[in-house]
């Protein structure tokens, strides 16, 4: 990287001159940066003739009546700036790999940013006047004695300047658009036909870069010139045209346009590199891993929280004992992690199954040692007789509207099925909470 720095002690402050300067500087270098507060103009001279660019910038400055302008060329910003500010000639070129040597004999005050007032006496106190005096010290000593400001100054004195004057520009994300003037479209099939065509262009570009789109922006320009924009996301980055068409179709089903569409623009909003997962020869599902991932992605497109993992918790209400959280990656789909599960884990046992919402039932009670317990219940389809009912277990808690108080009975029906019944104390309503299966 080669930097060209144009500096003047009398930098113009009017916007017109700055605009003119930038426009003409851009004719000389692909990237320029103006810092009017500091009175410098930067130009990116990578792979170009830095001296020629500096000379051209000086001519431009002269034509714009910027007085006493000088330029510096170096491979680090600090050396280029110091060369522009402190150099004797109109253009000072610091040869590559000599930036530190160029700075060495100069006073430490030429560095920018200059040392804070509190630091200058400390530096002077130990005899540090030139950049070389500071640069030869080791980092730990500087950090201990002069703190962070001293450390930053130490780096600059060694021509170690990490400023990013010209950040690398991310590549343009793929996009495609089509506009028509002879007709207007309002039918979804027609719009999808065009979107499908645009998708073909976009996914081809993504595929060449081995990238997948995580989200796309779909902008519909209507006949009244209003624009309806929709950002549509996929469950995982993909460059699969069919997946995107399916996702877009489902979104289009929910959109009603106020006027016919005259233009559609499709642009990729977010991308991620497409990666292949490391395979395991002993994983029986490895051969179908890609198909499985695609299927799960399809599923997540239909319902983002469809795949869930259970985390046991200690909530008093039995139906809340499992907290379900989405598992967007579907990691539990890889059965390899369970290889070698012991036979003990396979031993079947009846466990309780709990309804997400307890099902209301009608209950007939019987007296048992001064306690009323369920004897029969009707679930809307038929009546069941309970041969035994254990309970009640009393559960209460919560605050305000979330307050609950319930009695639970574990019963055994005459057909052998074990059920869990609950009674809401506040409403005296009975419900089937679950069963053993």
């Amino acid at each position: 990287m080669t930097y060209v720095c144009l500096s003047s002690p009398a930098w113009p402050t009017d916007a017109a001159t700055s605009t003119e300067l930038l426009a003409r500087a851009l004719e000389q270098a692909p990237r320029v940066r103006l810092e009017p507060a500091r009175g410098v103009l930067w130009a990116d001279a990578r792979s170009l003739d830095g001296h020629a660019i500096a000379a051209a910038l000086l001519q431009i400055a002269e034509s714009l009546s910027i007085s006493a302008a000088k330029a510096g060329v170096a491979t680090t910003p600090i050396a280029a700036e110091v060369a522009a500010r402190s150099g004797q000639a109109p253009v000072t070129v610091v040869p590559p790999n000599t930036d530190r040597g160029f700075l060495a004999p100069l006073d430490i005050g030429v560095l920018h940013p200059p040392p804070p007032p509190s630091l200058s006496p400390l530096l002077a106190g130990v005899g540090i006047e030139r950049c070389a005096d500071l640069a030869i010290l080791d980092r730990e000593s500087v950090e201990v004695r002069f703190g962070n400001h001293g450390l930053a100054l130490w780096r600059l004195s060694r021509a170690d300047d990490s400023r990013v004057l010209f950040p690398s520009r991310p590549p343009d994300l793929p996009s495609a658009e089509v506009e028509w003037i002879d007709f207007e479209l309002d039918r979804q099939e027609h719009l999808l036909f065009i979107v499908n065509s645009l998708l073909g262009t976009v996914v081809d570009l993504l595929g060449k870069e081995r990238q997948g789109a995580h989200a796309v922006l779909l902008a519909f320009t209507l006949a009244d010139r209003s624009v309806v924009s929709e950002t549509i996301g996929a469950s995982h980055p993909t460059a699969d045209r069919r997946i995107w068409l399916r996702v877009i179709r489902s979104r289009l089903d929910q959109i009603t346009f106020a006027a016919p569409v005259v233009k559609i623009r499709l642009e990729v909003d977010r991308v991620a590199p497409l990666t292949d997962r490391q395979g395991d020869l002993f994983d029986l599902g490895f051969a179908t891993a890609r198909a499985t991932e695609t299927a799960l992605a399809h599923l997540l497109d239909l319902q983002p929280d469809a795949i869930a993992v259970a985390e046991p918790c200690q909530h008093p209400l039995p139906e809340r004992r499992l907290a379900w959280s989405p598992d967007p990656a579907g990691e539990t789909a890889t059965g390899a992690s369970a290889v070698g599960a012991t036979s003990a884990a396979n031993a079947p046992e009846l466990t309780i199954q709990l309804l997400f919402e307890p099902r209301p039932i009608d209950v007939w009670l019987a007296t048992r040692r001064d306690t009323r317990v369920p004897h029969r219940y009707f679930d809307g389809t038929r009546t069941y007789t309970l041969v035994t009912a254990l309970g009640p277990d009393l559960v209460s808690g919560g605050f305000g509207e979330t307050r609950f108080a319930r009695e639970y009975f574990q019963g055994v029906r005459d057909d052998g099925v074990m059920v869990l019944l609950s009674r809401d104390v506040a409403t005296d309503g009975w419900a089937l909470a679950g069963w053993w299966d």
């Binding site: 299927a295 795949i307 499992l322 396979n346 299966d437």
Partner: protein, 232 residues
């Protein structure tokens, strides 16, 4: 070596040359083992058939326990298993295991089953808590055939299926712990009679299954309000 004169000679020659090979006519459809030897013995070919539909027609009668065993067996072999919880009734004793799908609607549950079966990546897909109409079963049968996995659906309806299983608990064979007054205090073990029906096949077995007790009183947690409070 002289060329075999007849197909019988050819089979004989092949069986001598490749003694461990199984001739295609003798090979039955591959299956997914249930992990229970007693149950595998009553199932045609020793498990749930791959590429075919199996229906379990007796909800609330031990089917979930048996299928969880089959799930664990498949996972232990490194295969993928999915459990579609259409009724969202999975209880608190569910730990680890298969990919759990919790669809928000009946239609999504059916679609989820189709997607997972069709992709061919799952050795076993279980659909619970959802009654399917004949048209949906027909679609699913195509998907199962295409994907090649085993599919078990809990349903009370009588659908055409390769394998139909029914189960019922045997109340007279319950083993219970008595309470202080001599009544039943805790069900410890149940007996489940499982019947398997397939074209040309009818068998049954009785499984003894322990019961995991669900104790409501073991849920005390700091920070949670009193749960044994002022009822009455």
């Amino acid at each position: 070596m002289p060329a075999p004169a007849t197909a019988t000679d050819l089979r004989t020659l092949l069986s001598e040359r490749f003694p461990t090979a199984i001739l295609l006519p003798n090979r039955g459809p591959s299956v997914v083992s249930t992990g229970l030897a007693a149950l595998d013995r009553i199932l045609p070919n020793g498990g749930f058939p791959r590429g075919r539909i199996t229906v379990w027609q007796s909800p609330m009668a031990g089917g979930t326990a048996v299928l969880r065993s089959a799930v664990a067996e498949s996972l232990g072999r490194g295969e993928r298993v999915a459990w579609i919880d259409g009724a969202r009734s999975i209880g608190p004793h569910w730990t680890g295991g298969p990919l759990v799908i919790r669809p928000s609607t009946t239609d999504l549950a059916r679609k989820a089953a189709e997607i997972l079966l069709r992709c061919g990546g799952f050795a076993l897909v279980v659909l619970a808590g959802l009654e399917l109409d004949p048209a949906a079963m027909l679609r699913l049968s195509r998907m199962v055939h295409e994907g090649g996995g085993a599919f078990v659906a809990f349903t009370a309806a009588h659908h055409t299926a390769m394998l139909r299983l029914t189960s019922r608990l045997l109340p007279d064979q319950l083993r219970a712990a008595p309470g202080p007054f001599g009544e039943v205090a805790l069900i410890e073990r149940v007996a489940v009679r499982v019947e398997a029906r397939s074209p040309g096949w009818n068998a049954h077995t009785i499984l003894q299954l322990p019961t995991r007790h669900h104790d409501l009183r073991l849920s005390l947690e700091p920070g949670v309000a009193d749960r044994r409070g002022d009822v009455d």
